[in-house]
Symmetry: C2
Subunit: 322 residues, 2 copies
């Protein structure tokens, strides 16, 4: 158990993951209210919106307004998602986001075709073009992200060799342009991972690139989210994407049961109970989760917001014993 990190950093992606897929309609004001609520929980990074065409993702049609509307809290990085230069330009135009660049490959060519209408080769070319754009705007490119790293609904299991090859591609681009990549992000976009495959892939990547921190983006479509996060913790992974209440799902996965990410408050609960710091106020986060549930108008998969924290129970028990 000594490999568990002392601290983890959680990137909250609920507003972006959730509102891009919820049927809604969800008002701009509600989206802003959730972001403002999350800003008071101690989370250090919140992904607020994605800048994608409204015709593809109607829930993000008001992305620019959402960003205009929320109140920046000190010490919190507010991020956005974009898949091309046009999206990036919109993000820059808000003047209010913490903009960093990501190299983003996908381990499944089939998924890439469906999702972005590109093959492997075109996607690598697109990364080169994006780096040029980032550099033109003096935006640091700090992340190498790999989507579908654990499997794909359209292509099946992903060979480890392909994962390593794609990371190599990104690190080569990094070297070529003098980027200072700070983190490798492995995404289980379609929920194919189990604790064993998390350990296998993370272990292989860490062996190859021992100095580059790894982050995990885990979907919970097959109920493995928290167990996979635990496997990550056991491998020393200290950065996780998560969504409050378990909001989300991928609009392109064409999957009847596509569930959201691992749930932020459940992850925070697990970390705290295992002695791992997150810097997050769990009770405040549970309030945000209940707010998210009210906004979307249906039950969200998060459990701790329903079951209650143990910290609160311990307080109650201690008070009763006095």
């Amino acid at each position: 158990m000594s490999d568990l990190p002392k601290k983890v950093r959680i990137n909250e992606e609920g507003p972006r993951e959730g509102f891009q897929i919820e049927k809604g309609p969800i008002s701009t004001g509600q989206k802003i209210a959730l972001i403002d609520s999350l800003s008071k929980t101690g989370l250090k990074q919140i992904q607020t919106v994605s800048f994608v065409p409204a015709k593809n993702v109607p829930g993000m049609a008001d992305a620019d307004e959402v960003v205009r509307g929320f109140t920046r809290a000190p010490g919190v990085a507010y991020t956005g998602l974009w898949l091309n230069e046009k999206g990036l330009q919109r993000a820059i135009a808000t003047g209010k986001l913490d903009i960093k660049g990501t190299l983003l490959l996908c381990a499944s060519e089939n998924f890439l075709q469906r999702n972005q209408n590109r093959g492997f080769k075109e996607n690598i070319e697109a990364q080169h073009r994006m780096v040029a754009v980032y550099q033109e705007h003096q935006i640091p490119v700090i992340r190498a992200g790999l989507a579908a790293a654990f499997g794909c609904n359209f292509e099946g299991d992903v060979p480890l060799a392909r994962i390593l090859e794609m990371l190599r591609e990104m690190l080569d681009i990094g070297e070529q342009y003098g980027l200072k990549l700070e983190v490798i992000s492995l995404a289980d976009t379609m929920a194919w991972a189990t604790p064993v495959s998390i350990k296998r892939v993370v272990g292989a990547v860490r062996d190859k690139y021992p100095d580059l921190p790894i982050s995990l983006h885990l979907h919970d479509t097959r109920g493995m989210g928290i167990a996979n996060a635990y496997a990550g913790l056991e491998m020393g992974v200290g950065i996780y994407d998560a969504t409050v209440g378990g909001l989300g799902g991928c609009p392109f996965a064409a999957h009847r049961g596509a569930a959201g990410n691992v749930c932020t408050e459940d992850l925070v609960f697990m970390c705290h109970e295992m002695g791992i710091e997150t810097g997050v106020d769990l009770e405040a986060l549970m309030e945000s989760a209940l707010m998210a549930q009210e906004i979307v108008g249906h039950e969200l998969p998060g459990t701790v917001m329903k079951g209650g924290s143990l910290a609160k129970l311990r307080q109650k028990i201690a008070a009763a014993a006095v």
Copy 2:
């Protein structure tokens, strides 16, 4: 990863755990249909009902009829639950259950008082009386079970020393009466466990009693069920209670969000994907889970029945590639 067992045995407790807490009304015929459906999945043990007073648990008022109604499948053990001699007599009277005795202590005296109106001392005395009854009926007593082993909503964290002391008590009773105890069952009745505490407790018990197999009964109220099962697997634990669809909850836990056990099909999915045999046909089990969901009339927490198995996706992908 080498500690993972090659095989696990799953005791299905959905009919008992689920129907004792669901508001219903659920017809006797529906309960029987679910048991018969589960009988065809490859599960080797199904807990069908509990024999408890109907005024305490109205959903079990028809327990005797349910047992009369289902069809025994070869190779499946059908069990029931009872907390006293009267319940046991009802179980015996069905003439149709696989009846084995359990020594059952509870690590929280407060919970024991609320649940069974007994203190620690009276409960140990009650175990002695029950052993006499079992022996009178030539029923083997094979299990030592400890409820609330990981924490209690009314008493808080449970010290490891108390767990070991209670197991010692049960093993002493076992020696005194010449019982052949085959398994120690540790129950996280109120969902206080995390992977770290699972490892700590299982490790301590295994160190003390290396020859006694351990089984885990895990509730999912705070979303840790599957991660806790994974921690158990990592410790070599090869026996798990689980409920189809994640049915259940404890009628005495007085807990607004009391969730059911770890979900059987999610657990089977995880095991199969990690190369661990269960003997269960996952697709058939998912059908049972969907049936359970229809019977209770609301969404159940199980995820794989909604997200779909990967085995099926792999087949589809392979077929498309031909």
